[in-house]
């Protein structure tokens, strides 16, 4: 995965427990930061854009909460939206079941991805082989 990230370093946007949300900022700031920094988008526009994304993912209520106050699902979706904020994003989800350990299958992951599928170009999920059955027919 590291090799993959380094070869696509300009567009990769990881979703991983190793890339946590900033704990001293609320969710909306964590996500809008990407647009503000990379595209110099104004705070107002970035916040509006992020809020729309949060609404699409059904987690608008967590916009002004900070990382420790989120459930695993909310945290995953926030991290996913943050990754999707990268322009022409190549989203890399690293061991999603490590982020939401109680999930029985990957249905929630794919549902979340489908809700914002216009915000990214590709998505790669990296997972251990022994978790293969949780993904069903979708694995390569």
């Amino acid at each position: 995965m590291q090799r993959f990230l380094s070869t696509n370093s300009t567009v990769t946007a990881p979703v991983s427990v190793d890339v946590p949300l900033l704990s001293n900022q609320d969710v909306i700031m964590n996500i809008s930061l990407i647009k503000e920094y990379h595209e110099n988008m104004s705070k107002k526009d970035a916040s509006l854009f992020v809020m729309q994304g949060l609404q699409r993912l059904g987690i608008a209520h967590v916009a002004y909460k900070r990382n420790p106050a989120l459930t695993s699902e909310e945290r995953f979706r926030a991290m996913l939206l943050r990754a999707a904020m990268v322009k022409d994003a190549l989203i890399v989800i690293d061991r999603p079941f490590k982020i939401i350990s109680h999930l029985e299958n990957a249905g929630f992951l794919f549902q979340s991805l489908s809700e914002i599928d216009d915000l990214f170009i590709h998505c790669h999920i990296f997972e251990y082989r022994w978790m293969k059955e949780k993904y069903g027919d979708l694995c390569l």
Binding site: N24, Y37, S42
Partner: protein, 290 residues
Amino acid sequence: MSIKSVFDSGYLKLLRSCAKIEFLTDMGCSMEWIEKIGRSIGKAGKSFGGTLAFSGKVLARMLRRKTYSSATREVLVNQIYFTSVQILPAFLLVSILFSSLLVGIVFQVLKDFGLTEFFGHVLMGLIVTELSPIFAVLLITLRSASAINVEMAVMKSNRELKTLETFRIDLMNYLVVPRIINGMVSMVLLSSLFAIVLMASGVLFSGLIFDMSVDVYRNILLNSTSFSDIFIALVKCAIFGFFITLIPIRFGLRATSELTSVPVVVSGGMVNVFLAVLIIEVLSLLTKLL
């Protein structure tokens, strides 16, 4: 007999070797002590050099227009809000109380010692240009610099800095520059505010203690004010602001992924901030003397 003699000579050898070992250990200790001093000096020098190099990098970034993205500006606004605006009412209240007390005591002491003629110089040269920056330094160091130090250390421990790097967000642009600019701006503005409050309370106390009219007070102030002193004081405030935020950031970034490293880097950072304040104060006094 032969066995004994061998034993004896062995015993002697052992004694000699003990003496030798002891001697070496003593020498070793003293050498180690000197080495320790040398190492500490080297370490301090290296740290000082590192801080200066880091300052250079930050200054270079500060002068680059590209640094000021929307995100950086937002962080800057937030930092100024938390450092200066949020505490402004309390700061003004404390300034009024403290400056009244200070000016009252200083004026009374001058009157008691018959040094009334130096009152303008004491007010401008000592209280306004020296004590006002120190007051603001104390406030910003205790409230913001310590918070910045902990914030950086915790972000490093939580791998949040790695997150920013992963998303190709420059730490220097996003974290360091806005905090340092905030330090400089807040220091200059807050110490100026304190100085103005102080001079205003001077009007009151000069009337009460010296029975001095506002016009006389104004004239004395004008006569004892030197623009070079004010300029030095403002530059000193900016330098104070620069270093009392830069050093905590630098030390905070030294934290490891272990949470136990946080208190270590925080205490180290704060001690170094104190040393930096002393050094800057001495340098500013030397500049004034020269």
